[in-house]
C-alpha cells in the first residue's frame, strides 16, 4: 500500500501556456465559444494551485501559436516512474506538441521512449494508470499499435485496452481518485468501460460514481505532508458530482474551475503531466 501510494506521489508538474489560437483553432468535439481570457485565468489558477498550494515544482512550457491545443500537455507524454513515453497524438495537428515536452522531460532526467511507429497513435488522455496497471482507451485518438508501444515502454505493468465508445478520451469519463479507487461517470458507456476494466484486472478497484462524466476527471496525488489530494471541478460546474466527491474522507479536496477549457474538451488532467522524481530509482 505504501508503495502504491508512492506511485501517486508527485514532485514536478509540466504545464504549458494557452496560445491565443486556442479559442478559435483548438480541436473540439462540439462547437463552442471559448473566452480566451477566462481560459487563461483558469489555467493560471490551476498552475498556481499546483505551485503554491501543493508545493510542486512547476515546469511551464511556453505556448506556441502554431499549436492551438498545446495546453493539453497530458496527451503528449505518459510518465510513469522514471520513464516517459513521448506519444504520437492521434490528431496530426498536435504531433508537434511532443517536441517541447520531450525536451522538458529529458531535462528532468527521465528515460525517454519515443513512439516512432508511423501507424501508432496515442493520446495521453486515453491512458489511465491505476498505480498497478495501465488501461488504454482505444478511441478516435488512440489505436492498438499505440497501446502496444505503451505496453512495451512500461513492461512492468499490465496494459489492457478498453474501447472508448463515446467521449474524446478514456479519461473523459474517469480518473483515479486514489489508490484502488476509480472515479467514474454515470453514463452508460462510462459504466461499461469500468466493467471492462474491472474484468480485465487482477486487482480490485473500488469505484466512485459521479453523476457527470466530465466531473469524474480529477487529479489525484498523494503528497507527503498533505495525504490524499484531489483536484476536482468546481461545484458551479457539477454540483451533484461535487457532493459525491465530498464524501471522500480524509481528502484534501481542491476545486479548480475548468469551464472554458472544458469547451475544447480539456479536462483537469489534460493540462498537466505529473512527475514523481522521488520514485525515480
Amino acid at each position: 500500500m505504501a508503495e502504491l501510494l508512492e506511485r501517486f506521489g508527485c514532485t514536478h508538474v509540466v504545464v504549458r501556456g494557452i496560445p491565443s489560437s486556442l479559442a478559435t483553432e483548438a480541436l473540439r468535439m462540439s462547437p463552442a465559444e471559448v473566452d480566451l481570457q477566462k481560459a487563461r485565468q483558469e489555467h493560471a489558477e490551476y498552475v498556481e494551485v499546483m505551485r503554491s498550494k501543493l508545493g510542486l515544482e512547476v515546469i511551464e512550457l511556453p505556448s506556441d501559436e502554431a499549436m492551438p491545443d498545446c495546453v493539453f500537455v497530458e496527451d503528449a507524454a505518459v510518465v510513469c516512474g522514471a520513464t516517459a513515453l513521448i506519444t504520437r497524438p492521434g490528431s496530426e495537428s498536435r504531433r508537434p506538441e511532443t517536441k517541447a515536452m520531450k525536451e522538458a522531460l529529458k531535462k528532468l532526467g527521465l528515460t525517454i521512449v519515443e513512439m516512432t511507429d508511423e501507424n501508432a497513435t496515442l493520446d495521453g488522455g486515453d491512458v489511465l494508470f491505476t498505480g498497478q496497471e495501465f488501461f488504454v482507451g482505444l478511441s478516435k485518438r488512440t489505436n492498438q499499435k499505440g497501446a502496444e508501444i505503451l505496453a512495451d515502454a512500461f513492461k512492468d505493468y499490465a496494459v489492457s485496452t478498453v474501447a472508448v465508445e463515446e467521449g474524446l478520451h478514456l479519461k473523459s469519463f474517469c480518473s483515479m481518485g486514489g489508490p484502488g479507487l476509480i472515479l467514474i461517470g454515470s453514463s452508460d458507456h462510462a459504466q461499461k468501460a469500468l466493467k471492462i476494466m474491472q474484468q480485465m484486472s487482477d486487482h480490485r478497484y473500488d469505484k466512485l460514481t459521479v453523476p457527470d462524466d466530465l466531473a469524474a476527471n480529477c487529479i489525484y496525488m498523494n503528497l507527503p505532508d498533505k495525504g490524499h489530494v484531489l483536484l476536482h471541478s468546481t461545484a458551479d460546474m457539477f454540483p451533484e458530482s461535487v457532493k459525491v466527491l465530498e464524501k471522500l474522507k480524509d481528502y484534501t479536496l481542491i476545486p479548480v474551475s475548468n469551464l472554458e477549457k472544458m469547451k475544447v474538451d480539456g479536462a483537469l488532467t489534460c493540462c498537466s503531466v505529473l512527475i514523481n522524481k522521488k520514485a525515480d530509482i
Binding site: E148, S160, T161, R204
Partner: protein, 1171 residues
C-alpha cells in the same frame, strides 16, 4: 505338448535348460492345459485374438467351441457396454460376483480400450455391432500361416537359441526406445515378406538381428487381432506382417494374463497410456509366445512374484475398474511399504517408486538441469514414474516446499512439457533423451509466504532466468533493480576495489538486451544494497519480481475465433488473453465454468455475467492438438493449485470417462502452505551458486563458486518426515487427528509395495476430508458390503460429478447449503466492485428427542475448525455411459475440466453437444465434521448413540421424502429427482422415489447408517470436511445423521436459465449435533411445515438478503438461513468490517448460526486485493 516342445535336450546349455524348465512350469500353470476351464481362460482368449493362433488348432474341438462361445459372450458384453446406457453396464457388471468380477472387468477394460481406439476413427454409431461384426470377419479370415500352437514357438525359440547363444544375455535386455522398436519393426517386416516359413523367418531374423530375438520373443502384442486395432493401422497389421512388439505391448499383454506376470499394476498405467499401448499394438508380431512372460518370470524372484501377483492383480483390478479408489490400496499399503521409499514418504504424490521392486529393470541415467544451471545426474529405473525422479531431485536440492516446482522435458517437437509425476517417465519423454530441467511450476503470488529461504532462492534462480531470457518482461529500471539484488545475493556487498566491474557485468546476463547503461545502473544500485544478506536480497528480488504483470503467467500462442493471433496466459488468477503485448481479455477462474479442448481447439465456458442470461463458450485455436492439450493441462493444474483447497480426485475409472483424465495430483497451494508452516527443521544450509548465466559466460571467474548442494545434507529421518508431513495437511491444531493417522503411516512398514506406501502417505497427508472421501469411494478395509462397493466401483465410470450451486428450498436463493459456500467463491469478488458473500447456515434440530440421551457429549468446538474443506459431489448421468464411451475413444483428443468449486470435485463431463439430453443427478454428500477426530469419537460413542438413534430413522426417512417433495414442488424438473442415498444401503428402501440409477452414488442413510455408525463413519462416504456449519449450543447432544436432499436446479436457475442445466439432486449428509429441544426457531408442529422468508436489508454499502427456510418433518426441524451479503465498493469500505457487521447482525437473530470462517478469509482476501 508342452513337454515335447519344451523338452530339455542334452545339447542345451544349462541356462537354456533351466529356462525351458521354468517356462514349462509357467505355461502349465498359466494355461491350465488340463483344466476344463480352458475355453474361458484368458490365455486362450488371447490366443484367439492372435491371427496366428486364432483358430485354436492346438486345443480339442470341443474346447475350441466353448472358447469361441466364451469370446462371443465377451464381445457381446463389451458391445453392450459400449453402446448401451449405463444401465447396461450396471447389469453386466453387477451380475458378476466375487473374483469373477475382477477378471471380467479387466477383460472388459481391455476390450473397451481396444474398441475405443478402434472407434477413434470416427464411427460413433453402432459401435458394438461393428465390433462384433469385425470380430466375426476376423475369425473368418484364415489363420496366419504359422505354427498352430503358440507353444510351438518355444520350439523355434530354442532353435534360435542354439544358433545364437548370446541371446541368453539379451534376455534381460528390454526393448529399447520406441524409435528403436519401430526401426526394428520395419526390418522384421521386410524380413517377414521374404520368408514364408515361420522357422526360416525366425532364423533369418535371428541372424540378422541377433539380440533382437529377445524382443520378438517377448512381444505378445500379436495377440491382438487386426480388428482390435486402430482402423488406420489395419493395413500395417496385415497378416503377413512380422514386427517385434514394443515393450509396452509386452506389458499390455502381460496384463491380460494377470496370473502369470508380476506387473499387474501396469493395468492402470496401461489405461493411462492407452495411446502408447495402441501404438505398440500396431506393431505386430508373428513369432511370439506366452512364454515370454514366463521368461520374465524366470527371474529369481519369480516364484514369489507369481503368488503375490495374484493378490495384486486382484487389487489392481479394482484399481483399474475404479480409479481413485484408494481405500483398498491403502489397506494393502499399510503392509507393503518399501524400505527404500524414504524420501517419497513426505509427498502427497502417489508412490514414485513403483518400479523399484522390479529389480531386473534397466537403470537409466537422468540428466537434470538444476535451476542454478548445474547438472544433476542420477540413475533411475527405466519405468519409474515422474515423481520418483522429482523427489530424487528435491532430495538432492534439500527442497521441502517442492510443490511449486516441477520437472520439464522437451518433447519431440522441442516443446517444454511438464513431467507428469503420476506417469512413467519413459512413456512421457518418448525418446532416449533423459534430460530434464527443474522449473518453477507454480509461481507463488506472495513469495514472502514461503517458509524457507532455500525455496525463495530457487524461485529467484528461476526468475533470474525468466528475466534474463525475456520470458518475464520488465522495464529497464526493474531489470537494473533485479540485477542489483542478484548481485547482492550472489556476491555480497559491492566492493569498490572490485576489478573491472563493468567488464564483469557485461558477461552476466541480466536482460535480453542489456547495455552499458543498464550495467552501470545495476552496479549503482548494487552499492545501495550494502548490508543486505543474501536471503534478504533474494526476498527483495522477489518482492519486486512478483509485481511484474507477467509474473507467473504461462504463455501459449493461439488464435481467436477470427483467426487473429493472440496469446493465452495462464496464471494464478485465471486466463489472460493478450494480443501482442496488450491484454484484451481476462477470465478469472471463478468466471470459468468449464475448460475443455478438442483436437486443436481450446474452449472455456463462461459463467454468465450479471446482465447475461446464458453462459457462453469462448473458443481458441491452438497450433495443434498437443498445444491444446498442454494448455488445457496447465489450466487444470493452475486452477487446482491456486483455487482449490485440495486436489480434485482423479476420475474414478479409466474407461467410460471422457477424454483425458488428467488432473492435478499434487498439493494445492493451500495445502502446501499448511505444510510449509509445519516444516520443522533448521534452515537448511545451502550455498548460493552463481547462477547459470554467470557460470556459462564466465569460465571460472574467481568470484564464482559453484556449489554442490549435496543430497547428503538432508539426513532426515524418513519417519520423522513422514510424521511431520502427515500433520501437514491436517489442520494444524489437530493433533489428535494427526496422531490417529500416523499409526497408519507407520504401519506402512517395509516389505510393502512402494506405491501403496506412497498412497498411504498421501492419505495421511491429505486432509481428513480426503481420507473420508476415499473411504467413500473405495471399499472399506473391512467392507461390510463388499458387493455393494464393487457395484459402485464398477459403475462409477458412469458417474459424473457436476458442479452445481445447490439451491435450497427457496428458489431465489443462489447458494445455500454449506457446500455452496465453497462454491460461491467463484462468484469472484475480485471481478467487480462488489463483494458477494454468501453464507449458509443450516440449523438442524431434532425436536422429538424422547429423552435427552446424554451420551458422551462431544465437545462441539465453538470455533469451526477451519481446515481444508472439501465437498464431494457426485453426479450421475443417465446415458452417460454411452456418451462417454463414444468420446472415450478420443481421450487424448479432448477433455474437459470444470474449474469452479463444484468442479473441484467434478469429474469429466459430457461434451457439450450432448448436454441437453443429459440428466445429471448430483449427489452431494456433505458430512459435516466438527473435528477431525470425530471419526474416532463416533466410534467410541456408538454404543451410546444407538439408543438415541433408533428413533430418528423413521423421522429422517420421512424427512427425506418431504424434502424431496418439497424440492419437487419448487422445481420444475423435480421429476428427475430421486433421493439418491437410499439405494445404497441394504436397508429395505421404503422410498418410492428411489431409482436404481442412484445406487452407485448411494449413501448409507437412515437407520442403517446410524446403527452402523462407527463403520459408517469410518468407511463411508466421502466427507466434506468443512468448518462446522451446524451449531448446537445445547448440551444434550445426540449425534445423528441427517440427509438433506435439495434441488440445485432452482438456484442455478436464477442465474442460468438454460435447459442445459441439469437437474441436480443434492444430498447433504450431515452429522449434526442435535438439540434436544427446539431453539425456538421453529414451532414444533407435527407434520411438514415449511416457512420461507426473505429479508433484505440494505445499509450504506451492503445489501444483505437473508432467506430463512424452515422445515419440520417428523421430529426434525431444519432451519436454513442463507445469507447473501453484497458489499458494494462504491467507497472505500472496510469489507471485513462490513462482513463482520453483517454476520454479527445475523448472529443476533440466530444465535445458533455459525459462520464459515474460510469464507471470511476469502472475503478478506478479496478485500485485501482491493487495497
Amino acid at each position: 505338448m508342452v513337454n515335447t516342445t519344451l523338452r530339455v535336450e542334452g545339447s542345451d546349455l544349462s541356462a537354456v535348460r533351466a529356462f525351458k524348465n521354468t517356462v514349462r512350469q509357467q505355461l502349465e500353470t498359466r494355461f491350465k492345459l488340463d483344466s476344463d476351464d480352458l475355453p474361458s481362460s484368458i490365455p486362450v482368449v488371447a490366443c484367439m485374438l492372435d491371427p496366428c493362433f486364432k483358430h485354436l488348432k492346438f486345443i480339442p474341438d470341443s474346447k475350441r467351441e466353448r472358447a469361441y462361445s466364451h469370446l462371443d459372450t465377451l464381445l457381446l458384453r463389451v458391445s453392450e457396454t459400449l453402446s448401451v446406457t449405463n444401465v447396461g453396464v450396471e447389469t453386466c457388471e453387477t451380475e458378476q460376483t466375487g473374483k469373477d468380477i475382477g477378471k471380467k472387468a479387466r477383460l472388459e477394460l481391455d476390450f473397451a480400450e481396444l474398441f475405443g481406439t478402434h472407434f477413434e476413427s470416427g464411427q460413433n454409431t453402432a459401435r458394438g455391432s461393428t465390433a462384433t461384426e469385425e470380430a466375426r470377419q476376423y475369425f473368418l479370415l484364415p489363420q496366419i500361416p504359422t505354427l498352430d500352437n503358440p507353444l510351438q514357438c518355444q520350439n523355434k525359440y530354442s532353435e534360435v537359441e542354439r544358433k545364437a547363444p548370446s541371446v541368453g544375455v539379451a534376455m534381460t535386455t528390454e526393448a529399447g526406445t520406441e524409435t528403436e522398436v519401430k526401426e526394428k519393426a520395419e526390418e522384421s517386416a521386410a524380413l517377414a515378406d521374404q520368408s514364408e516359413q515361420a522357422t526360416e523367418e525366425t532364423q533369418e531374423v535371428v541372424t540378422a538381428e541377433g539380440e533382437k530375438r529377445e524382443k520378438e520373443g517377448k512381444g505378445i502384442s500379436r495377440y491382438l487381432p487386426t480388428w482390435l486395432k486402430k482402423q488406420k493401422s489395419q493395413t500395417q497389421t496385415s497378416p503377413t506382417k512380422d514386427v517385434p512388439p514394443s515393450e509396452e505391448a509386452v506389458d499390455k499383454e502381460t496384463e491380460k494374463v494377470p496370473e502369470v506376470n508380476g506387473h499387474a499394476e501396469e493395468v492402470e498405467e496401461e489405461q493411462e497410456q492407452k495411446k502408447d499401448a495402441e501404438k505398440s499394438e500396431q506393431v505386430k508380431e508373428k513369432e511370439e509366445l506366452p512364454e515370454v512372460d514366463a521368461k520374465e518370470q524366470s527371474e529369481p524372484v519369480k516364484e514369489e512374484k507369481v503368488e503375490k501377483s495374484e493378490e495384486k492383480s486382484a487389487e489392481e483390478e479394482t484399481k483399474a475398474v475404479a480409479e481413485g479408489d484408494k481405500t483398498e490400496e491403502e489397506t494393502k499399503e499399510t503392509t507393503e511399504a518399501p524400505v527404500e521409499e524414504k524420501d517419497t514418504q513426505t509427498s502427497l504424490f502417489q508412490s514414485p517408486l513403483r518400479l523399484v521392486r522390479k529389480n531386473k529393470m534397466k537403470l537409466v541415467v537422468c540428466h537434470v538441469t538444476l535451476l542454478d544451471g548445474t547438472d544433476y545426474t542420477c540413475e533411475v529405473e527405466k519405468r519409474v514414474k515422474g515423481q520418483y525422479l522429482f523427489f530424487k531431485v528435491c532430495e538432492h536440492l534439500n527442497l521441502m516446499e517442492k510443490d511449486y516446482f516441477g520437472l520439464t522435458y522437451k518433447d519431440t517437437h522441442d516443446h517444454k512439457c511438464w513431467l507428469d509425476p503420476t506417469k512413467e517417465i519413459k512413456r512421457q519423454i518418448r525418446s532416449n533423451n533423459w534430460k530434464f530441467s527443474v522449473n518453477v511450476k507454480f509461481y507463488p503470488p506472495d513469495p514472502s509466504l514461503l517458509t524457507e529461504d532455500l525455496t525463495r532462492y530457487l524461485l529467484c534462480l528461476q526468475l533470474r532466468e525468466d528475466v534474463a531470457s525475456g520470458k518475464l518482461p520488465c522495464s529497464f529500471v526493474t531489470h537494473a533493480l533485479l540485477g542489483s539484488y542478484s548481485l547482492q545475493a550472489e556476491l555480497g556487498d559491492y566492493e569498490t576495489e572490485q576489478p573491472k566491474p563493468l567488464d564483469y557485468m557485461s558477461q552476466l546476463k541480466f536482460a535480453p538486451s542489456q547495455n552499458k547503461d543498464m550495467e552501470e545502473k545495476i552496479l549503482e544500485l548494487h552499492k545501495s544494497h550494502r548490508g543486505l544478506t543474501p536471503a534478504q536480497a533474494d526476498a527483495q528480488f522477489l518482492e519486486n519480481a512478483k509485481k511484474l504483470s507477467m509474473y507467473g503467467v504461462d504463455m501459449h500462442h493461439a488464435k481467436d475465433s477470427e483467426g487473429v493471433d493472440i496469446t493465452l496466459g495462464v496464471c494464478a488468477n485465471g486466463l489472460l488473453v493478450y494480443k501482442d503485448k496488450l491484454r484484451i481479455n481476462r477470465f478469472a477462474w471463478p468466471k470459468i465454468l468449464k475448460i475443455s479442448y478438442k483436437r486443436n481447439n481450446f474452449y472455456i465456458k463462461i459463467r454468465p455475467g450479471e446482465t447475461e442470461q446464458f453462459e457462453s463458450t469462448v473458443g481458441f485455436k491452438l497450433q495443434n492438438h498437443r498445444s491444446a492439450k498442454r494448455l488445457w493441462k496447465v489450466c487444470v493444474e493452475n486452477h487446482s493449485f491456486f483455487r482449490l483447497n485440495a486436489p480434485e480426485p482423479p476420475n474414478k475409472t479409466r474407461f467410460l470417462t471422457l477424454g483425458s483424465k488428467f488432473r492435478y495430483s499434487g498439493r494445492t497451494q493451500a495445502q502446501t502452505r499448511v505444510a510449509s508452516t509445519l516444516i520443522d527443521r533448521p534452515a537448511p544450509n545451502f550455498e548460493r551458486t552463481s547462477s547459470k548465466r554467470i557460470s556459462r559466460s564466465l569460465d571460472g571467474a574467481p568470484m564464482i563458486s559453484i556449489t554442490d548442494t549435496s543430497a547428503g545434507e538432508n539426513g532426515r529421518e524418513p519417519h520423522l518426515e513422514l510424521n511431520s508431513d502427515s500433520k501437514v495437511d491436517l489442520s494444524p491444531g489437530d493433533d489428535e487427528a494427526a496422531t490417529s493417522q500416523s499409526p497408519g503411516a507407520s504401519e506402512a512398514a517395509p516389505s510393502q509395495d512402494h506405491d501403496k506406501t506412497q498412497d498411504e502417505v498421501l492419505k495421511h497427508q491429505a486432509s481428513i476430508s480426503e481420507l473420508k472421501r476415499s473411504f467413500m469411494e473405495a471399499p472399506p478395509p473391512s467392507p461390510p458390503q463388499p458387493n455393494l462397493w464393487e457395484k459402485r466401483l464398477t459403475s462409477s465410470p458412469a458417474t459424473t460429478i457436476r458442479v452445481q450451486p445447490q439451491p435450497v428450498v427457496t428458489v431465489s436463493q443462489t447458494e445455500t447449503s454449506p457446500v455452496e459456500i465453497v462454491i460461491s467463491e467463484p462468484k469472484e469478488p475480485v471481478k467487480t466492485a462488489e463483494v458477494e458473500i454468501e453464507e449458509t447456515v443450516v440449523v438442524q434440530e431434532v425436536s422429538k428427542t424422547t429423552k435427552p440421551v446424554i451420551v458422551t457429549v462431544e465437545k462441539v468446538p465453538i470455533e469451526p475448525v477451519v481446515k481444508i474443506e472439501e465437498a464431494m459431489t457426485f453426479a450421475e448421468e443417465e446415458k452417460q455411459c454411452k456418451q462417454s464411451v463414444s468420446s472415450e475413444s478420443e481421450s487424448e483428443e479432448e477433455a474437459e475440466y470444470h474449474p469452479n468449486a463444484h468442479a473441484t470435485l467434478s469429474h469429466t463431463q459430457i461434451p457439450e453437444e450432448k448436454e441437453e439430453e443429459e440428466k445429471v443427478v448430483v449427489v452431494e454428500v456433505v458430512e459435516e465434521v466438527k473435528e477431525e477426530e470425530e471419526e474416532d469419537q463416533v466410534k467410541n460413542d456408538t454404543p451410546v448413540d444407538l439408543p438415541a438413534t433408533q428413533e430418528p430413522p423413521p423421522a429422517e426417512s420421512r424427512q427425506e421424502l418431504v424434502e424431496t417433495d418439497q424440492a419437487g414442488t419448487q422445481t420444475k424438473d423435480n421429476a428427475e429427482e430421486k433421493p439418491p442415498a437410499v439405494l445404497e444401503k441394504d436397508e429395505s428402501v421404503d422410498e418410492p422415489m428411489v431409482t436404481p440409477d442412484e445406487a452407485p452414488n448411494g449413501l448409507p442413510l437412515g437407520d442403517d447408517a446410524e446403527q452402523e455408525e462407527p463403520k459408517v463413519n469410518g468407511q463411508h462416504m466421502e466427507t466434506a470436511l468443512r468448518p462446522q456449519v451446524i451449531c448446537c449450543t445445547e448440551p444434550p447432544v445426540v449425534k445423528t445423521e441427517m440427509v438433506t436432499i435439495s434441488d440445485t436446479f432452482a438456484a442455478q436457475k436464477t442465474e442460468i436459465a438454460t435447459k442445459e442445466v441439469p437437474i441436480v439432486h443434492t444430498e447433504t449428509k450431515t452429522i449434526t449435533y442435535e438439540a434436544a429441544q427446539l431453539e425456538g426457531n421453529g414451532d414444533a408442529e407435527p407434520g411438514v411445515l415449511m416457512t420461507a422468508q426473505t429479508i433484505t436489508s440494505e445499509s450504506l454499502c451492503t445489501t444483505t438478503t437473508t432467506h430463512i427456510t424452515k422445515t419440520l418433518k417428523g421430529g426434525l426441524s431444519e432451519t436454513r438461513i442463507e445469507k447473501r451479503i453484497v458489499i458494494t465498493g462504491d467507497c472505500d469500505i472496510d469489507h471485513d468490517e462490513a462482513l463482520a457487521q453483517a454476520i454479527k447482525e445475523a448472529k443476533e437473530q440466530h444465535p445458533d448460526m455459525r459462520r464459515i470462517d474460510s469464507q471470511r478469509a476469502e472475503v478478506a482476501m478479496a478485500s485485501a486485493d482491493n487495497h
